[in-house]
């Protein structure tokens, strides 16, 4: 039945797909920008017309799962392992009763569960209508109208202008869609932080072929160091007392310096992994990274100056969309240029065969050192942004669970792929946000996705490949890029 629907659907969109073939990215950007403007203009009223209380969150993905927030699975196994406060006479019948209730709640959740809580189908249909009318249709119309003009216009542009115009439009879309100071901004900030984390881990795990499982440790170092710097210098806090410098100096310079200092501190912590990596690799190095994660957590737990296990309070709330965007782009640029440089080929060579690389003249020690330093530097800056977003840091956050989250993003996106890591971070952030109504169940769904991924697509979404963006450049302008990507293909053997 599913394939029948898919066939019908693909037959329906086939002519559209044909018409859109070869449309440059810029046209889509303009289309989306148009949709964003339309949403600003009529989105709220339209949502009200569809009986939403406010504009659906994240294209309605969050709203769709909301009806299932009442599901309670604890009754199924609970009666068999009662706590002392429960008196269970017949666990089997109680459990059966709980399953019955669960089914009932589930059916209610599908259809209707009260004046305030519409059912899943009702929400789904309204969300689809909203997305179609506000996002999909305007985008498509604008794309179809403008594609000819824009394609011709792009051919006349030099390379720098082309990239510039794409970046400007990208910024306008992000700020127009998400700069509301609300959920969207929050999600976008977490997305940026996650992108930094997954891309930096991909440098070690994907490009260099090591297996680091302690990335949250570097994040913790960056978070704490940058927080302490901003708090001591620019904020009046209970922990460190009045600021040493006038608080006005804090933005923008103090923040930049604090984030970079956090990154540098994390990079120094990265040495803890880099040096052992000269002598050991593979599983053994993975254990070392795990140990470093625990060392960092343990040290912070015992530092009473920064609140020990109770955490550090009163970090200034400085992270916003612009800062996140800036540092995410800097990190992406840094990693992109690193892995596409001659030096970066050395990193990849170490992954393919360390001994052969050494024989070919790659200074493997230097390569490993730089890879670990850069990776932990970016993780440290991400930690700094994270701390200044939450206004609170606590060693518990930077545990093995956080490291695992980053690993999930890297393997979801695919090893050795920057665009894969970016897209995976975006998907993962949205997924976590969307599954939030399911509470504990979230931690069943997310690992399940990982298991299915490992079975059916172990190389991830973009394993060792990059997303090819159609920037619509003329041949002469884009030749340089093609050459480099071919070269990297040749080396990765893809």
């Amino acid at each position: 039945m599913l394939s029948a629907i898919r066939n019908r659907f693909s037959r329906l969109v086939a002519p559209l797909r044909e018409r859109l073939q070869g449309t440059p990215l810029l046209v889509y950007q303009l289309g989306i920008l148009g949709a964003v403007v339309i949403e600003q203009w009529v989105g709220k009223d339209f949502a009200r017309t569809l009986a939403f209380r406010k504009i659906p969150k994240l294209f309605g993905i969050v709203d769709i799962f909301e009806p299932f927030s009442n599901l309670d699975f604890s009754g199924i196994l609970g009666p068999f392992f009662p706590s002392p406060s429960m008196t269970v006479s017949n666990p089997v019948s109680q459990s059966a009763g709980a399953i019955g209730d669960l089914i009932q709640t589930f059916v209610n959740a599908l259809f209707y569960q009260g004046r305030r809580d519409p059912g899943f189908f009702s929400v789904l249909i309204r969300v689809v209508v909203y997305d179609l009318v506000i996002y999909v249709l305007p985008t498509l119309i604008i794309v179809l109208l403008l594609r000819g003009v824009i394609t011709r216009f792009l051919r006349t542009l030099p390379r720098w202008a082309n990239i510039g115009i794409h970046l400007v439009l990208f910024y306008l879309i992000i700020v127009g869609w998400g700069g509301d100071g609300g959920t969207r901004e929050l999600v976008l900030i977490f997305m940026g932080i996650n992108i930094m984390l997954s891309v930096s881990l991909n440098l070690v795990n994907g490009y260099m072929g090591e297996f680091s499982v302690g990335h949250a440790g570097f994040m913790a170092v960056g978070a704490y160091v940058s927080s302490v710097i901003t708090m001591v210098l620019f904020a009046d806090t209970r922990v460190f007392g009045p600021p040493l410098l006038p608080p006005e100096w804090g933005l923008p310079f103090g923040f930049i310096i604090a984030l970079i200092a956090g990154g540098i501190a994390a990079a120094i912590a990265g040495l803890l992994v880099a040096f052992p990596s000269f002598r050991t690799r593979g599983d053994y190095l993975a254990i070392v990274t795990l140990a470093v994660n625990f060392i960092v957590q343990g040290v912070i737990n015992n530092l009473e100056v920064v609140g020990g296990p109770r955490g550090l309070n009163g970090v200034p709330l400085w992270t916003n969309l612009n800062w996140t965007l800036l540092f995410t782009l800097i990190s992406l640029g840094l990693i992109y240029n690193l892995v596409n440089s001659t030096f970066g080929k050395g990193i990849i060579a170490v992954r393919e065969d360390e001994i052969a690389a050494e024989l070919m003249g790659v200074n493997t020690r230097r390569v490993k050192l730089v890879a670990f330093l850069v990776s932990s530097f970016i993780a440290g800056m991400a930690g700094g942004l994270f701390a200044h977003q939450l206004a609170y840091v606590n060693p518990g956050v930077f545990g093995i669970l956080k490291s695992t989250e980053v690993l999930v993003m890297v393997y979801l996106g695919g090893m050795g792929s920057i665009s894969g890591s970016v897209i995976a971070a975006v998907i993962f952030t949205i997924l976590i946000e969307a599954l939030r109504p399911l509470a504990v169940l979230k931690w069943v769904v997310v690992p399940l996705i990982l298991i299915l991924l490992m079975i059916y697509r172990p190389q991830g979404l973009f394993g060792f490949r990059e997303l090819n963006l159609n920037l619509g450049m003329s041949r002469s302008a884009s030749r340089k890029k093609i050459v480099t990507s071919e070269a990297s293909d040749a080396i990765t053997g893809d």
Binding site: F121, E185, G311, N313, G314, Y392
Partner: protein, 403 residues
């Protein structure tokens, strides 16, 4: 086949929304013109889920009660009260994230919660920075409200509770020496342990052992061995209901026969079931005792027992009080703006709630009495009260009080 399928989908698409029911506008007799959204942060999962359950039950009861009376009346128009509950997993970091989400995303006018100081101290910072009124019902650590004009509380403070416990140990048991066992990773036990130590030393009790563990530990034998070797007259342990039974049972197994006293974190009914006979006869200080209830409390206890078929614990009572305080403030302010609500909360001087009469000092902290409860045959029984000097004032009664 395909055609049939398509028809089916189309028919469903038309019918389902009808059955699914678009959320209809309020059709009650009250003519609500809008909504007042209040955020609730509670530990629904994690170490102390019972505390979360009590919070939500009390919150729902308070909200249903006020909506039954046509909600909040502002300038002659009725606003329906809605609560948005966020789970903080009993973790500080999740609590901070939940507060950010409630403030930024749900645009709540105020937050009730979090309960434990471990979460309330950092979350208070966020509420204060983001200029949203927050009332923590249960948190007793002074840092929750200290220098934070947007943060309020309903419970008494640990600098008051510590001396109450120390004096009780001195008077009841004639203690000369005492030992303390507490969780160093959590603000509430750490703060209270230190307050108790200082107060005890002032009262002439020598602290012979001051042992700590970290959240999540379940084996306390090494700390208890040290404590028992120091031969204290009394052990003080300001822990939560999930840890107290383990501590008491392990202390008894290691041969400690003397009294163990605790604090308001003991007062969750699940403690009785988890601890069983081992806790019989022990004492702790807390916010209110159901068996000596005032009229206000009596009404609350009855309604709560009718609705949930269980006795309200101190968390439920304090949460209910927090809501009443907030409602009083909103109606005094005649506004749903965060800033007006904050000002109105700050100007409440005397308030009679389920947990007794309280007045507020300049930090927004209540001054109120504590009670000592003894665990007797699986029940919390009133034993004694302890009030701050000169409290409650004589001229009570005519002032503003909760509905």
């Amino acid at each position: 086949m395909n055609k049939r399928l398509l028809t089916l989908v189309l028919v469903l698409a038309i019918i389902l929304p009808v059955f699914g029911g678009l959320p209809a506008a309020a059709q009650d007799e009250c003519d609500f013109v809008g909504e007042a959204v209040i955020g609730v942060i509670a530990p629904l999962t994690g170490d102390i889920p019972k505390v979360g359950e009590s919070t939500v039950q009390a919150a729902e009861m308070a909200v249903d009660e006020i909506n039954a009376e046509c909600g909040l009346e502002i300038d002659g128009e009725n606003y329906e009260v809605i609560i948005v509950v966020e789970d903080n997993e009993s973790k500080a970091e999740s609590s901070v994230a939940a507060a950010t989400r409630l403030i930024v995303d749900e645009e709540v006018i105020a937050i009730i919660g979090p309960q434990s100081s471990k979460q309330a101290v950092p979350t208070g910072q966020v509420a204060n920075d983001r200029e949203t009124p927050m009332i923590s019902p249960w948190s007793t650590n002074p840092n929750t409200t200290l220098d934070r004009p947007w943060v309020f509380r309903v419970a008494f403070l640990d600098p008051f509770q510590g001396p109450v416990d120390a004096n009780f140990a001195k008077e009841e048991f004639g203690a000369e020496t005492a030992a303390v066992l507490y969780d160093i990773a959590s603000d509430y036990p750490k703060g209270l342990a230190e307050n108790f130590r200082d107060a005890a030393e002032e009262a002439g009790i020598e602290i012979v052992a001051f042992e700590s563990f970290t959240t999540g530990d379940t084996d306390f034998s090494s700390q208890l061995t040290n404590i028992i070797a120091a031969e204290p007259d009394v052990i003080f342990t300001p822990q939560y209901y999930n840890e107290v039974p383990l501590i008491v049972q392990q202390a008894r197994e290691l041969g400690y026969e003397g009294p163990i006293i605790g604090s308001d974190s003991w007062g969750t009914p699940d403690l009785l079931d988890l601890c069983g006979d081992a806790c019989n006869g022990l004492f702790f200080s807390t916010h209110y005792a159901p068996d000596i209830a005032t009229d206000v409390a009596q009404t609350f206890i009855q309604a709560y027992e009718e609705r949930y078929d269980e006795r309200p614990d101190d968390v439920a009572a304090l949460t209910y009080d927090a809501f009443q305080m907030l409602f009083t403030a909103i109606e005094n302010a005649q506004s749903l703006e965060r800033e007006d609500i904050r000002d109105a909360l700050a100007s409440i001087e005397l308030f009679e709630g389920v947990t007794g009469i309280m007045s507020f000092d300049e930090q927004g902290d209540p001054i109120k009495c504590a009670v000592i409860i003894q665990i007797q045959d699986g029940e919390f029984t009133y034993y004694d009260s302890a009030c701050p000097p000169g409290f409650p004032p004589e001229d009570m009664g005519s002032e503003e009080s909760g509905s």
